[in-house]
Each structure stands twice: as C-alpha cells, then as structure tokens.
C-alpha cells in the first residue's frame, strides 16, 4: 500500500492542504516549527488511529477550531489496483470517528493494518535513554500492528492490575503490613487471572524481541564495524535494585540487570512454565507489594536492555550510538512488518539524518532506499545532496501551507 492522496483540514497548523503522492521518495523541506512533523504525524495517524507523540486528541485540532479531518486515498497499483478511502474526524473531547470506504469502523484494531507505517522520529531516542515504559511501548505498538488480539489482552491485563493494586492498598488499611487470610484468598483469585493474561503479554513481547534480536545485532554491527551488540528481554522479577520511586521509573537506574540463562529460556516452548514462574514470583514478592502498596511483578514492569560491547547502551552509549540503536530498532520493526503483514509499509523519516555522521547517513540511506514509499523531512537540502538519493517530489512547508518545489 502507499499513500496516494492526503487532505488535511484544521489539522495542527494546517487549515487546509491537498496533496498527491507517487510511490517514491518524497522530500519535505521547511524551517523549524513550520509543520513537517505535523504532516508525518497525520500519516502515522492514518495508519494507527493514534498520534506518535500525544495521547490527547485535542492537541491535534487546530487552535480555535472544533474539529479536524484527515482524508486519504491509500492503495496499490499493478494488475488489480486497490483503493481505499480513509476518513478520520476528530472532535474536541477526544471523540474520533474513523470511516473506511464510507463505513464506520468501531474498533481501531479493525483498521490498523490497511496502511502500515514505520516512523523514525527524533523522539525515538527516548526508547534508548528513558525509562522502561518507553521500551515497553515500542514493543506494544509493534505488537498491536501485527497481532490483532494483543491490544485487548493488554487492556484486560491492565484492568486486573488496577483491581489488584486497589486490593493491596485497601488490605494495608485494615491489617497492617501482614495480610490476613481472607484478603489473601481474594488476592489469590486476582493473582491467578493476572498471571493468565499477563503471561500472554510477556510471551508475545518476549517472542517479538527474540525475532528482533539477530537482525538488531546485524544492523548494529553493520553501522559500527568491529563492535558487538546485543539485546535482551528483562523480566520484572530480574530487575535488580528496585528504585524506591519506581512509580516514576525514568529516574530509576538499574545498571546491573542480571541476565540469567534459566529465566531467559523460560518462555521457550513451554507456556505453562512461564505461568508457573510468574505466579511464584508474584507470591514471593507479596510482602514487598504490601510495603510499596503496588504490584511489583508483572509485564507492566518488564524491560529490555541493549548492550554495546557488553555495556548497557542506555547509560554508557554516546548520543550518536544511541541514535543509531533507535534507528536499528525501527529497521527491525520494518522487517517484522514486512514479514507479518503482506502489505508494503510506508516509511516516515522525520529529521533522522541530522545527528549522524556522513558514513552512517549513507548506511541508513542504503537500508531504506527505493524500497517503499518514503517521506523524509529536513530543514535544508545541504547534506542530502551528498547522499545518493532520488526524490520523486519535493515539498516546501511554509506559512502553514505546502507547495511543490521544482525538481
């Protein structure tokens, strides 16, 4: 699939734009703050039903307006060309309506796979540098694209988790730090369901990372000749030196994650085994849960860690190394999407070149060039000229409008 036509009305800084695209590489040039990221965001929205940088819909609606629209024709060419009309209407109060070919889609999961996209964003650095929730979010967003049941499973897990946390909080009030038999019985009931749904979340994330791993190593070792790179899933029960303030996870640093072979093979082929381990760890940590008044074990506290020459990239990597690692994660995402969804994805490259040196710029170009429809933003053309790229069209973003540039 690729994006053929895009119309935006009252979207961010745009009052009205109408654009046509070919299945090639489209360069979007414009000064800081002119709306390049906004344009890519709208394409991403078209693909996933959500923004890659905000959870509040209201932010997207142009200031002073009540509604905004994204309308697009996406499709494929060839002997039997396909076209779909996707219409998204956003209103204040976070109400969104999505129509595909004039029929309303109630569930977002119904439509996410029509136009698969991979976005490379400056914010991706957060995946490497920030707390575990950013990394979980990376895995979760990708799983939502390739596994239609994942979103609901995770939602179910979160509901049970909220109930369990509530129970733990109330238990404390009535019985001090030791829990009484009655509450423990209720807790066991919640725990068994927590484990049931949580295990499938863990398993899916773990297996995804397992698939990513060899490709990630390849990409990294290609970008940095002579280094060794690796990536590991970290179960909540293997996270060491629990930060006191783990509710604000970004401040917690745990540099020595213990990577135990026993637990890395936990998921493997034996689904039962994972449920057993999870349940055991949950029960073992019950006193700690009571003390912190929150559930400390479960996929909501899982993480993954990237090692570069054996050192945790999150703490010891340079800015450029971290940037490249985030790009490699996205390249893995692209490979996984290609494999799982039998549709060509669209690539959105938002200002990714600026931090890279010329060698690595060239490598990235090589990795993505001439494969799929690709949108690239930049503030100027200067370094792009040195890269071996062909653009199907160039657009200039200026004064809340978009005009084609002559090639």
């Amino acid at each position: 699939m690729y994006l053929k036509k895009l119309e935006l009305i009252n979207y961010r800084n745009y009052s009205k734009v109408n654009l046509d695209f070919g299945k090639d590489t489209i360069l979007i040039i414009g000064n800081n703050g002119n709306g390049k990221t906004n344009l890519l965001e709208s394409i991403h929205y078209l693909s996933t039903g959500k923004s890659h940088r905000t959870y509040t819909q209201d932010e997207i609606i142009k200031w002073g307006s009540k509604q905004s629209w994204i309308r697009a024709i996406v499709g494929s060419d060839g002997v039997s060309p396909v076209n779909h009309l996707i219409e998204i209407e956003m209103r204040k109060d976070n109400e969104t309506r999505i129509k595909v070919d004039k029929t309303t889609r109630r569930k977002k999961t119904d439509f996410v796979s029509i136009l698969p996209t991979v976005i490379f964003s400056p914010d991706d650095l957060k995946i490497i540098k920030d707390g575990p929730s950013e990394r979980r979010n990376f895995l979760d967003s990708l799983l939502e694209k390739i596994d239609s049941s994942y979103y609901r499973q995770r939602l179910q897990y979160q509901k049970i988790l909220a109930q369990r946390n509530s129970l733990i909080k109330s238990a404390d009030k009535s019985a001090g730090s030791k829990i009484d038999r009655e509450i423990n019985l209720t807790l066991e009931a919640w725990d068994s369901n927590l484990v049931k749904y949580g295990s499938s979340v863990i398993k899916k994330r773990y297996e995804l990372l397992d698939e990513i791993r060899p490709e990630f190593k390849d990409y990294m070792e290609n970008f940095f000749k002579g280094v060794s790179a690796d990536i590991f899933y970290v179960f909540s029960w293997n996270r060491k030196n629990m930060p006191d303030s783990f509710e604000n996870e970004s401040s917690g640093n745990y540099q020595d994650v213990e990577i135990q072979d026993e637990d890395n093979s936990v998921v493997g082929s034996m689904e039962r085994n994972l449920e057993e381990v999870f349940y055991r760890k949950l029960r073992e940590n019950i006193d700690k849960d009571m003390q912190y008044k929150i559930t400390t074990i479960g996929p909501h506290r899982d993480d993954f860690v990237i090692l570069l020459n054996g050192k945790n990239l999150r703490f010891f990597g340079s800015q450029g190394q971290q940037r490249v690692a985030s790009i490699c994660l996205r390249l893995c995402e692209l490979d996984i999407l290609k494999e799982k969804i039998k549709e060509d994805p669209v690539l959105l490259l938002d200002d990714v070149f600026s931090e890279l040196d010329i060698e690595r710029k060239k490598m990235l170009v090589k990795a993505v060039k001439n494969k799929f429809q690709t949108f690239i933003t930049a503030t100027n053309m200067s370094y792009l000229d040195k890269l071996d790229m062909e653009f199907g069209s160039k657009l200039l973003v200026m004064d809340n409008g978009i005009t084609p540039l002559d090639l």
């Binding site: 239609s148 049941s149 609901r152 499973q153 179910q156 509901k159 049970i160 909220a162 109930q163 369990r164 509530s166 129970l167 109330s170 009655e182 509450i183 019985l185 209720t186 066991e188 009931a189 919640w190 068994s192 369901n193």
Partner: protein, 199 residues
C-alpha cells in the same frame, strides 16, 4: 429561547436517568405520555409504585420475588442439589427462559471489585457458604459474565467451594450460535478453542 415548562422538564430529567435513555428519547417519551388518557397514566404510575412495594429479594436465593421465598426455591420438582450462581437477579430470568436448567439459583448482587470496595462479604458469598453447608448440594454452576471481575469472582468461588467437596462447573463460553467465526472476537475464539471438548 426554547419553550420551557418546568413539570415537563422535570419528567424528562427523570427519564434521562434510566438506562439506555438519552435526552432525545426522554423528551419523546414525555411528550408521548402527555397525550395518553388519564386512566393509562394512573395505571402506569400505579404499577411502578406497586412493583416497588411488592417485589423483594427471596430469602434463600436473593432472586426477585413477591413472597418471602420465590417460586423457584419453593418448587419441589426442581433439582435442589444444584445451585447456579449469577450476578444479577435479571440473569435468573435469562437462564430460566432457556428451559434447560432445573436447579436452584444464588444471586450475588455484584462481582468482586476492589476498586469499588466490593469484597466477598459485599456480594452474598457468606450467604452462599452457609446455604451450601446447610443443604445437600452436589454441583455449583458458575454463570458469571466473562469480564475481568467475573473471572476473578469465578476463581475465588472455586477456591472457597472446592474444599467442600462440591463439583464446580462454569458455563462454556463459546461462539454465538448462528454467528460467523470471522466476526467473533479473538478472545472469544481463543477461549472456545482452549475450552473445546470431545464430540
């Protein structure tokens, strides 16, 4: 300025509180009632009051009844060794309509939900236990909704009833009859597969 008549607006506001009724239907119903003959209006308002006066909870199963003990609990021809556990009194009517079940019921009146401060004693589980201990019960059928709360309540019931040596079953949750596999959600299909049985 729109026409505003206080007594009409009052009634509309009352209707809006009812389940499934939005402002538009509330208004429609109010204007419809306005046109009804006085007799019909009296009948309607009387039946509301009468229902509220007469209907109470059955002292055994907590289903709805006009007597102290409901007609199901009084019915000697029913299998008194089976108890079906449901969330709300309305669920009894739904299962009764199938005509497939000939045992007794126990209405919990809610589900475990720590967030709403609902624990076992808030949902008539103590009453269930004493009922089971006093009477000769050999099977408990759990018919709770497959929500997060329903499932945890089911697990809880299993935990406290199993030591009493009673057979515990739950409703099979499968695919809707006449439904198309393609349109069932993944969790339903997943459960239908994991709880499949030999034919």
């Amino acid at each position: 300025m729109a026409l505003y008549i206080k007594s009409i607006e009052n009634l509309i506001n009352e209707f809006k509180k009812l389940p499934g009724i939005g402002p538009k239907s509330a208004r429609r119903i109010a204007y419809f009632l306005l046109k009804l003959p006085d007799d019909d209006i009296l009948k309607l308002s009387r039946s509301i009051v009468e229902m509220k006066e007469k209907v109470k909870f059955c002292s055994q199963c907590y289903g709805l009844s006009e007597e102290d003990v409901c007609y199901i609990c009084r019915d000697e021809s029913r299998d008194r060794k089976k108890i079906c556990i449901v969330e709300e009194a309305g669920d009894v009517a739904i299962i009764e309509k199938t005509g497939e079940y000939r045992g007794l019921y126990h209405v919990l009146g809610g589900l475990l939900s720590p967030i709403e401060n609902i624990g076992p004693s808030e949902i008539r589980i103590p009453m269930l236990l004493s009922r089971v201990k006093k009477n000769d019960v050999d099977e408990i059928i759990i018919a709770l909704n497959p929500t997060v709360e329903g499932e945890s309540t089911t697990v809880y019931l299993k935990k406290i009833l199993q030591p009493l040596g009673i057979k515990i079953t739950r409703l099979a949750s499968g695919l809707p009859v006449g439904g198309n596999l393609e349109y069932a959600d993944e969790i339903t299909i997943g459960r239908a597969i994991s709880e499949r049985r030999e034919i």
